[in-house]
Symmetry: D2
């Protein structure tokens, strides 16, 4: 039996990711299309506690599908991890008769939603929104495709100058625990080497790989370094390589937070739209404590408990192997 | 038993598509990595007949992964459809002891490869490269993702001005028989309406849809028109709408061939790399008269006969339905 | 003696142009910095008449410097050309004690401001904002640089495919009376020919120029057509050329309104900032009925009467001559 | 009297800059148009010494106008500073009967050309190509406009996320001795503060400025740091600020060499074309030991001796003052 839902709120939490706005638009309009009153919570769980909750109509999400960031803003919120925080949040939702909460974010966001839903009679649906692509239940998370496009556009520019001189470039990309961005960026930019948090690569190995490229007359080399690599960030690695390997001049770029921004790619806008659309429809059908995700080319639902309990080791080993062949 | 293959040639044929260069790079380097002598054929099947075949080494595909177009050029070739044309092509390959031919292109390209392989002892593998996404055997074809990104970047710019005035914009996109580009572009750009070759939409229906948007205070509207729509191109449709509906000023953009160009997106670079890598590896394992394609997140092989015989009606009806909800 | 000005309003009028938001930001913040109360008028002169005037503070122009379009919107307004319209507009300004009006736009916008200022005791300053670069008093108008960048990015994509096939591309760009966009786009894209409203070029001349390129082994050619060219738009010209010249396949792109949008270039953001800053400072110093413009690398003031009375024939003939040499 | 020049060579030297290819194309084609045999020197002055000099025809510079980097490559060359090096270079030119040398680069490049021309009977013309905009004799150097566009596109992406959280971003841009890139980037991106090599800014001043922004409810702040700033790079400054000012979370981006690459902007393509065209025409008229530059909107010639002897303190103080007003 379908539940009788009248009011739904949506929030974004954790690090922001391109495509969140496309997703918010889809959530709000799908709700309104189905006769639901829609609300937006500003600054994630903190906004729930601070009662920063605003009504949203179809026009309130006009002309946002192409914008980076999130119009609802995000924030980290320690208070929501406490019983007191959750209670205040619940009262604020109850005061508006809000029955359902849709959260867009990563692991931490889903954990908060699960705990909240375990304690209170609020339906929750999670949407995987993080550039890190480190969640179980969706082949790709919202923002990942855009982030890689951002990285390769930067590397393309560096390659212009790499080709003019004989140089070795170290590019540090995001990924504390996950090499997803680094690996796909390496494939898509034709990088000569990639250092991942999930793999140990010694400086000796790296130097030997670069030396082999030099011997086959590569005019320059690009090394992508995950910020979470054990041997250090791009600066440290460049310094260590330089000590052993003087063939090239070494240069460092730290991309930093620009990887979180930018207008979302078509892939992320479509993914955000589909996930938002599905999350509301699933909730209206009675689903709760679940996430929607992309599997193959279809949107599927996974229980949040299952999603959180299963380790998401997503590193695509076939791509890593391929990189070695394609960078000869 | 693995065949004894020593020499492989690669060509691009039909309309060019972003990602073809990434794919050529992968084909050439994967072959070389496996000890094969690699050749490039210039200008598609015409180059086979004209004996325009050059040896390629690992450096000949350096710094091309990010380039639009195809370094091997493409051409349409009627002569290859004749017995005489195929015989000359075969002799040119034989003279170099080339055992395998990898073709990157669409339907027509695959048909040529199939016929050639039926007649001569040349192994062939097909790689789906076309912005139209109209092939069976691959969820996405090489170039499709980039083409949609190109379209939505154009529409984003139009929306800047759409939002400043009260206007109705008609954007004509590619797709003579397939609405794939139009539909995904419509979702990703938040267009108010989309006209597809596969669907009849009368001018009355369109006007009524636009009138409903106007009544809900949309400040402007964007209509995407496939070039293959039955009621005419964007100019014709704009004129017909204008006669019935004077609420807005109407403006037309014809994107044309810029949709075929541009630096490939990360998605297409990775797809091209994977497909090229897989095509060579499959051929070295003994596969022939087959294509490689992306299904879900995996590369799979399909027989060219099967691929050509099955109608590829790929229009994503769920996305079309969703568009109506999300453009309220 | 400095005038005693307390309240200033700003509006954008005519076709919108990238950089208008950067300029609005500069106007508002420069006013506030100098202790002035600032107002924004929505939808140009129509907003003056409709009393659509809102107070603006420093935060109201946060995060807009990079946005295309104009947050104040523009509109064409016939009513402001009448005595009655101007009287209503004046009363609406007077009711708020607004002493000064800063208008961003083109020729028509400046004419309105001049007439208004002639009739009423309102100080006016004009800022040249139009992609057409057709105003006297400023070497470059706001939006022109971005528009050319937009055109050449489109042509770069077309060239990718032009280089793959042997083709002739016709690109229609904006410019009813002015060939400024067409000419600079032609230089910057390396186009083979350019058709301008200010120059008669017969189809015979064009065909002979293209034939000469073909004879020197150019693999493809790009022809830029101003929408205002006497022999017709890009479609007409392509058709006429095709009848005489069968060497290439011909393809047409109509860029249309996407030329008005897009994130402003650094040039336009800096120009908009400087012009807005100068317009307010000049007004506070007592200047009125004048425009600010860029001459060389300096901001200079010109009387609006002078600006309007002098014909602005800006076509850069040296660039036109150069184009012929550089496209050999 | 016009000199009798039959053969001219062109080279690029120093750090590469976007627009160099557009300039090479203009030099080569203008020479050929005037009946001169044109040569390209690979890898700057090193190529002169290594006899790495190739003939160039009109087609050899096809389809390069839009490419970053330089097809002639650049290199630093100590050997050319010696008498022996210059003598070898001279013999290599003489062997081909080359009468004129056109060099594209910065200060060091011009010094080399001057010394060479003082010693040998070779005509030289200099073209200012460097992203740093630090040469006397040209308002803007080739590549500067593109570099700033690259920086602001990066900052726009960072601002997306800056607006979602409450954060303080430090962006390190190029400029060891010159704050030109930093200053114009700050204006164009609406940065809250900018640290330049030419100005001492203490951490206390910076913190007080940021605190004032926080008090006026700015949701986030962006600080641009020239790599040459006395108080250290972006990492050092961020650390020092963090110690005093805990209002925001701090994040660092080091743009590095991506600022040298990318497809040149229309401004740089046009500038490169004009400078290359003028340099050849000037040389053919008899000018030598001079540079061509942009002044206002015209191309003017300056003696290399004068250009080198005059200190180019180009920091635009009016823009620096304006930044303070516009970032309130």
């Amino acid at each position: 039996m379908k539940p009788n839902i009248k009011n739904i709120a949506v929030l974004t939490s954790g690090g922001d990711a391109p495509g969140m706005n496309a997703c918010i638009r889809a959530v709000v309009r799908t709700g309104i299309y189905n006769g639901i009153n829609m609300f937006g919570v500003l600054q994630g769980y903190q906004g729930l506690i601070n009662n920063n909750i605003i009504p949203m109509d179809a026009r309130s999400v006009s002309n946002i599908i192409h914008l980076g960031g999130t119009i609802l803003k995000t924030a980290r919120c320690l208070e929501f991890k406490t019983d007191e925080g959750m209670e205040i949040a619940y009262q604020n939702l109850k005061a508006r008769d809000i029955d359902g909460l849709i959260v867009i974010g990563g692991d931490g966001t889903f954990t908060g939603a699960r705990n909240f839903s375990n304690k209170y009679n609020i339906r929750v649906m999670g949407i995987p929104g993080t550039i890190d692509n480190d969640l179980y239940g969706s082949d790709f998370t919202l923002g990942y495709d855009t982030a890689i496009n951002t990285v390769i556009e930067a590397i393309d520019k560096i390659r212009d100058t790499a080709d003019s001189h004989d140089r070795l470039f170290f590019i540090e990309v995001m990924g504390r625990d996950s090499g997803c961005i680094a690996l796909r960026s390496a494939v898509a930019s034709g990088a000569e080497a990639v250092l991942l948090p999930e793999r140990h690569t010694s400086i000796d190995e790296l130097v030997s790989q670069l030396a082999s490229g030099a011997s086959t007359k590569k005019s320059s080399s690009i090394v992508i370094v995950s910020e979470g690599h054990k041997a250090g960030g791009a600066y440290d690695i460049a310094k260590q390589v330089k000590e052993q390997f003087n063939h090239y001049d070494t240069k460092v770029t730290i991309l930093g937070h620009l990887q979180r921004g930018g207008s979302p790619s078509s892939f992320d806008r479509i993914l955000g739209s589909r996930l938002g659309f599905a999350a509301v429809n699933e909730m209206l059908q009675g689903t709760s404590k679940a996430m929607v995700g992309l599997r193959g080319n279809e949107i599927k639902t996974t229980g949040i408990d299952e999603a959180l309990s299963r380790h998401s080791f997503k590193l695509e080993n076939d791509l890593l192997e391929m990189t070695k062949v394609l960078s000869i």
